[in-house]
Symmetry: C2
Subunit: 657 residues, 2 copies
């Protein structure tokens, strides 16, 4: 079965394939025809106006591979218009970032000739994705050939096909050349250097670039803590006045670096044109279902989500669910304590190497269980309440730190706290590295081998790079977004900051972890997972708040720990009262200091603020001028009393603006 | 001596006088001629393009009154253009607020005919003020006739003349009709009702309207506290569990109402068009001196203030100054305590009515001294560092509350705290009412009498309303802005919240005070002070932060007070430790709750957010479209191949937008 103009490496020239679209291999012919026509159809007819072709396999394919794989591309013209539709911001002649428009494309920096190479791969693929996602049903009652697949005007076609498993997946293709260049400059060369954030952004988009930017920044920010932490470990300083110093330094430092990060990310986001880009103006994502309505802001017709429904679901489903999970994790914690004490007792009964090793077993097991529970919760949450990210965050936090809080403030056993903190941290780091990169990599390599073998058997010596590449990438796992990566960093930050004054070495461990993390994450993005669609991001969003909250909690916990420490208590033999009052006072001073600091340090650097204000100003001016220019122009024309053709093009613009 | 076309009530018809300009009576003739010409000159020649005339007095003026009084007015056209220059926002046809432009004036709501009555008096006067303030020297070396009054291109003329005392003052005239109407609906009728905020804004501008809005809101917000506070006083409940309840209620309540106020003010400001109005786009105020530079945002040429200089001044002048003043206020506090103890001792030696009254004398004296010190600091600060508002705020805070903090937490004398709190609060309220309204009113009346007598003697029975009015208003005191009024409310809020659990009656007193405050403030605005120029304001600015900070401090103080109270201590006979820990825990919970609440409640109501987003969206779209529309239009014209006159006017706009 073959639809539209066939497509294989022979006539690759017809267009550069950017996105792969895989339909179920038993998809009805009429459905495919309909879909392809909708995709190819002009935009004014409600089509996506994209180029799409079926990927053909050589006839002698014994091992029947899915024939319904399509590659999607686009004309340059369509991409540039698309860039305007999705509201991309690009660098203007005057160095500011402005919303791109096809009309005044010439006025944008690096726009040469027909605009070839003006948009990055990631941007082109984002535009195509946007095109596919916003492909909406017109007056079809159902998908042709599938009376069950009901449609109504405005329903996202892609979404419906996906939900019913007709559309298996669609993802952007890797660009082998760029990938090679990127991966080399990113992690292949082992000299210490900053990551090529602009290249990353160029290839994977802003969302991921910001994550790697943050990862790098965070790691560098931890280095001072690590350096100060080392001597504590080496000479195991036990005198708490030193620990107090360390804790205070940490608290101040964590505040400062979180504030400074805001500025960095603002600068990055501005340079990438995502800072001034208004979220509200974007089309709703394809996942967005519901009846058609009017977006009050853009006035565009688009599906609106009944938020009352969402509210109800949150209260009826996710809240009880979260509570249940929390109960479970507490239960597990208690089991862990029983194990811990059993191990300690056995050690005290007969202390030898075996039993001393046994001491660490419970917390290792517990760490593993925690990781598993986090994973389970993650899946469950995704399944139950699609992406209840705050709850996931909350659960992970409790799950990871509950035991430590319990040990610290209920048992008040600092030795156990340190030991268990260390084991939890190290175990979770190791597990993460394995789960994240090496396991998928190993699976991936097995697949690669299989595919390569098949390819070779299929077409012997003649090279079909595209066909092979598509085959490989369709098999790859899908990258689920930066959430997990941020979450990991968030928890690591917790291990460092919450109990820093008890275990100064934590920072060192995290720094070491993150150095490998950069490489393994980079590697997994380039070679383990499918290339993800770029997602424009102006900042790290909820994570900024999460990290700041953590650093506030850290102030409280550290002050409390210091207050509890026997050495400090020793200073106030006569009365705890005085001690506690002093500790509380210090805590309040630190908190006040945090807030003043956060208030004093502006979130956006001055020069960016000016540029943003300038954009606003020009926009408002433009809004004012819009009518007046026309009047001017007409009066001008009347006055000059000549035909317009004499001033078509930019000259006229010069005159009237 | 007489310049330009003379002007008295005879030919009042020539234009409606809006602003009065008073020059020193010995001003050189050429200077006046020059100034008037500059004011009358066309804008493209760097003039203000305003109408200005000298106010003439009848010949037989024995008591020589200053002849150099001028009234300034403007043509409607100029005002409408001015409205565009200052970036006024007005209601658009579609109900949203948009930057007014003369070009599409027709599309604005309530714009009828030539636009008569479209702008409020306050707005007209604001535009005229803006015109005068932005009247800048061109290439004059100095003010004609005053070789000493150096000028340089871009120097604000008005500012220079003011600084050298040639220009005594300029202020907007009252509109007797409107004033009568306003003052009636505002405070004349004694039935309980909300203030006519829109009328206030219409007459005095947004800044003042927002103040009165806040005053009203704050008063209503205090009512619940007051109601709950009364029984504590009546049955003087001393059991602290009740006080704990009261304190907790206060803390939560204060958070909620401050958050909700943000929403209210946003709604008000949006309706008044100041919410979306960008501060950065305004011309610098006349007070702004310094060499000419380019505003990076607007690209307009305007004087830029060397901020390094300001920094230096802050560190070298205001910081030491503030410290000195603080030292003084502490010294006074100590003196007060000595008096207090002396009074208490004398009372204990022989307790009788005289000595029992004597008990209150010290705190009354102290209250008076505090008020005087605040006043002195105020003047000194204004003189030294023009309007170091934060410092003034800080100083007033310390000055008013230092003694209370000392009594509460150092002496831990709750009885004295309550007594001193009460006396301070009541005394300061009485003093404020006197200082603010009655004293000026009394002075004002004496002046009025004088002026009226003179007028009558001058021109017998023939009525010269304008002349009389100008005479009166030039003599009136100048209103120095809302700062003092807010400051008073801020301090009252402090008295209510900081120690609420010790003296629940405070709220009652403040409510009573504010009810009279509304009337006295309204009265002083209408009849005691010169009409102030309206100042566009989108919110209460620094005061929001100030009030929030106060409510945070209140959490700490109240928790501490409760912890210190003997009744609560009684619950934990064996150990203070436990008590303190519990108190601290409660405090942290309350603080956390505050921040969550502040985070959860959106600062701008949803429907306003949507409208703002819509404006942004349209602006950006417009910016995009600007060039394209022209191209469209040209192509359209080429296509239609006819002259432009066929589609001049709005139709063409319909076509291309």
């Amino acid at each position: 079965m073959q639809l539209g103009l066939s497509f294989s490496d022979s006539d690759v020239s017809s267009f550069t394939p950017l996105v792969v679209l895989e339909l179920a291999d038993d998809t009805k012919a009429e459905a495919i025809t309909w879909l392809l026509n909708r995709i190819r159809d002009k935009q004014q007819n409600g089509g996506a106006e994209l180029l799409v072709n079926q990927l053909l396999f050589p006839a002698q394919d014994d091992q029947k591979s899915n024939p319904n794989v399509f590659v999607v591309g686009s004309t340059l013209q369509r991409l540039l218009n698309g860039a305007e539709d999705v509201g991309l911001f690009k660098e203007f002649q005057d160095g500011t970032m402005r919303g791109f428009t096809y009309a005044n494309r010439e006025s944008f920096k690096d726009f040469n000739g027909d605009g070839e190479g003006f948009l990055s791969d990631a941007e082109c693929q984002y535009i195509i994705k946007h095109g596919l996602d916003t492909l909406r049903a017109k007056n079809e009652q159902h998908v042709p050939g599938y009376p069950k697949l009901k449609l109504y005007p405005g329903k996202s076609v892609v979404r419906r096909l996906q939900s019913k498993g007709v559309l298996i997946q669609y993802f952007p293709l890797h660009n082998k050349e760029d990938l090679k260049r990127l991966s080399f400059s990113w992690y292949k060369k082992f000299k210490l250097s900053f990551q090529p954030l602009d290249d990353i952004r160029h290839y994977f988009g802003e969302g991921l670039a910001l994550y790697f930017g943050f990862l790098e920044y965070f790691t560098f920010a931890l280095v001072p803590m690590a350096l100060i932490g080392i001597p504590y470990y080496l000479f195991d300083w036990e005198d708490y006045d030193k620990y107090v110093l360390f804790a205070v330094f940490n608290l101040v430092w964590s505040t400062v670096f979180l504030e400074v990060w805001k500025r960095c990310s603002a600068t990055l986001a501005y340079g990438w044109g995502t800072l001034s880009r208004k979220k509200a103006f974007e089309e709703p994502r394809a996942g967005f279902h519901g009846a058609l309505g009017f977006n009050p802001v853009t006035g565009r017709e688009e599906p609106v989500y009944p938020s009352s429904k969402r509210q109800l679901r949150i209260y009826l489903v996710s809240v009880p669910f979260v509570l249940l999970c929390l109960y479970l994790s507490f239960y597990v914690m208690m089991v862990y304590f029983d194990m811990e004490f059993w191990a300690i007792n056995t050690y005290h009964e007969n202390p030898n190497i075996a039993t001393s090793i046994l001491l660490f077993v419970p917390s290792i097991i517990y760490a593993v269980v925690i990781e598993i529970m986090n994973l389970l919760y993650r899946c469950a949450a995704e399944f139950l309440t699609d992406w209840g990210e705050p709850e996931i965050l909350l659960f992970n936090f409790v799950n990871c730190f509950a035991s430590l809080f319990y040990i610290a403030f209920v048992m008040q056993n600092m030795v156990l706290l340190r030991q268990s903190l260390a084991t939890l941290l190290i175990t979770s780091q190791i597990l993460n590295q394995v789960m994240e990169a090496f396991l998928p990599y190993w699976l991936q390599r097995r697949r690669n081998k299989k595919v390569h073998k098949r390819m070779r058997r299929l077409m012997g010596d003649k090279e079909l790079p595209l066909l092979g590449q598509v085959q490989l990438e369709t098999e790859m796992n899908t990258y689920l977004g930066t959430f997990d990566d941020y979450l990991e960093q968030f928890l690591l930050f917790g291990y460092v900051s919450l109990f820093s004054c008890v275990y100064p070495l934590a920072a060192v461990l995290v720094v070491l972890n993150n150095i490998t993390e950069v490489y393994s994450d980079a590697f997994k993005m380039c070679h383990v997972f499918k290339r993800p669609f770029s997602e424009p991001a102006a900042n790290i969003g909820v994570w900024q708040l999460a990290f700041e909250t953590m650093s506030i909690i850290a102030v409280v916990t550290n002050c409390a720990l210091i207050g509890l420490s026997p050495q400090v208590k020793a200073y106030f033999p006569e009365s705890d009262t005085q001690l506690i009052l002093i500790v509380v006072a210090i805590e309040h001073v630190l908190l006040a200091f945090k807030f003043i600091l956060a208030f004093v340090i502006p979130d956006v650097p001055k020069h960016i603020q000016v540029k943003l204000a300038k954009l606003d100003f020009d926009s408002l001016e433009a809004l004012k001028k819009r009518v007046s220019t026309h009047l001017h122009m007409c009066t001008y024309l009347l006055h000059e009393n000549r035909k317009c053709d004499s001033l078509s093009g930019s000259t006229s613009v010069q005159i009237v603006i």
